[in-house]
Amino acid sequence: MTDSLLQETETLEVNLGPQHPSTHGVFRMNVKLDGETIVSLKPVMGYLHRNHEQIAENISYLGSMPYTDRLDYFNSMSNNFAYALAVEKLAKIEVPERAQYIRVIMAELTRLVNHVSVTGFLLNDLGAFFTPVLYAFREREKILDVFEETAGSRMMCNYFRFGGVKLDLPPGVLDRIRKIVKEFPKFLDEFEGLLTQNEILCMRCQKVGVLPFDLALSASITGPMARASGVNYDIRKVDNYSIYNRFKFKVPLGKTGDVYDRFMIRILEMRQSVYILEQALKEIPEGPVLNPKTAALAKAPRNFKPPAGESYGRVESPKGELGFYLVSDGTPQPWRYHVRAPSFVNLTVLEDLCLGHKVADAVVILGSIDIVLGEVDH
């Protein structure tokens, strides 16, 4: 009786999104369900395709800097960092010492902002309605205040310049950052106490959305997601870009690669970021923040013509490997400008992770991948 009933089940197609509270923006999943089990999932994107590349190919090199803020709008400083690295590689520009430290400090603060917010959202998706987000955004606001004070905007910082940063840190900001860094572990303890041993959370997250090591490697997964599967690849360690080789920090690695591992990796990475920040704040020297050769660039971005050639600058953004591929033909506009967006590539495995799970798990898995649609759709 039951057998014949089971054979008669039909697959049901459900559209999640593009307007859906759990899809972190305008993302759509075409899900085929057998009962409540997912048998096929096709991600549909492009609802936020803002022609970033086309616009960048038509304006000056510096003009693209504010646009990179809008790629991954949670961590504009990391995007600035990758783009600045790519152009500096192309035009062979040196960066002064103090600027390097400021860059690292800002990038790590961004990582804190991103990880804390994404953890909050993941828990929101799990059903812990809004409380973790409230806690996360409370911390985020403190860091955004620092960004506003140094760069002038809460989210769209536009702070990095080729050969340094736009302006020196205003007086008092370093002390403010020190205070935040000092208080942050306390908050993390509280956050972990709230969540990590929570039985409901463990049940919902463990053994859900397991990403095996081989698949993670072959599908070019990067960032916390890859490290949760045991892929030991952190571009801060591999490329040693900027001055990351001066700091001691560990790269946390997961074993199973499930949602819980990804969540925990982010928490651990925040602790490592705090550790890097502590070292950087101790060592930061005085000096210029902008290479004097490029300081004139700010006055006339249109006259900046890097030599013809190509370059690829990448950083370990909080989502994974963020890279900018630039081709210059010697004119003020880049010939080709391409963004290698980490969350876009990380979405490749969404279907593999979700197969065999329930719809409610798909939402959690998507939350654990940590996508930002501005970056996915560039």
Partner: protein
């Protein structure tokens, strides 16, 4: 079960501390109430905060610093600035704009115009309470809406104002010295053009 209870305990602690130890919204302390009662109470204004650009004048609105060189309009990444140079009766170009429009519906507050301006004429404002039911007319700001006095700039951004005033004073001194020297050397020759003129000669916008 223990984990759930522990989480609830932390939530309760947060609930209690926000009533027992209310803090200012700018405070960096981890615990406590943080809400800023917006219309009555405001966050401290950060000096570098940038919203929309405005034009600066020194004493009277006719005495504006902008010379209509069109650099900001060309550098603006999304192209939201539109400048037309003013001409006098004989058709000679004047060093001031006749039309200076900023399309607030396109501006992305990046501050590149402020950085690119060689005459310290355009700066980013702190005002954010802008908006309306209509966009095509009211959200394109014209010259008269954009003009603000230097005293206002000194009020919202005292540090930048001080450095810029210092720079301008030195330039004026240099100019005066040069003028004095040239008048001593050759009384009839006009003073040399100021060094701050951009490399490309500014052209009136078509």
């Amino acid at each position: 079960m223990l984990g759930v209870l522990r989480g609830m305990g932390i939530t309760f602690k947060n609930f209690v501390t926000s009533y027992l130890f209310p803090r200012r919204a700018d405070s960096l302390d981890t615990a406590g109430m943080v809400t800023v009662q917006y219309p009555e109470e405001r966050l401290l204004e950060k000096e570098r905060f940038r919203n929309f650009p405005f034009l600066i004048y020194d004493k009277t609105p006719d005495d504006l610093r902008c010379v209509a060189c069109d650099i900001c309009a060309k550098e603006c990444p999304p192209k939201c600035i539109y400048i037309v140079r003013e001409f006098d009766k004989d058709g000679k170009p004047l060093k001031r704009p006749a039309v200076f429009d900023i399309d607030l519906t396109v501006c992305m507050n990046c501050g590149i115009c402020e950085e690119a301006c060689p005459f310290d004429a355009i700066f980013m404002d702190h005002e954010f309470e802008i908006g309306g039911a209509e966009r095509q007319q009211s959200l394109v700001y014209h010259k008269d809406q954009l003009l603000k006095p230097a005293t206002y700039f000194a009020k919202i951004r005292p540090t930048d104002h001080a450095t810029i005033e210092e720079k301008r004073r030195k330039e004026a001194e240099k100019k005066a010295a040069a003028a004095k020297q040239s008048s001593q050397g050759a009384a009839q020759t006009p003073p040399p053009p100021p060094p701050a003129v951009p490399p490309k000669s500014p052209q009136p916008n078509a």
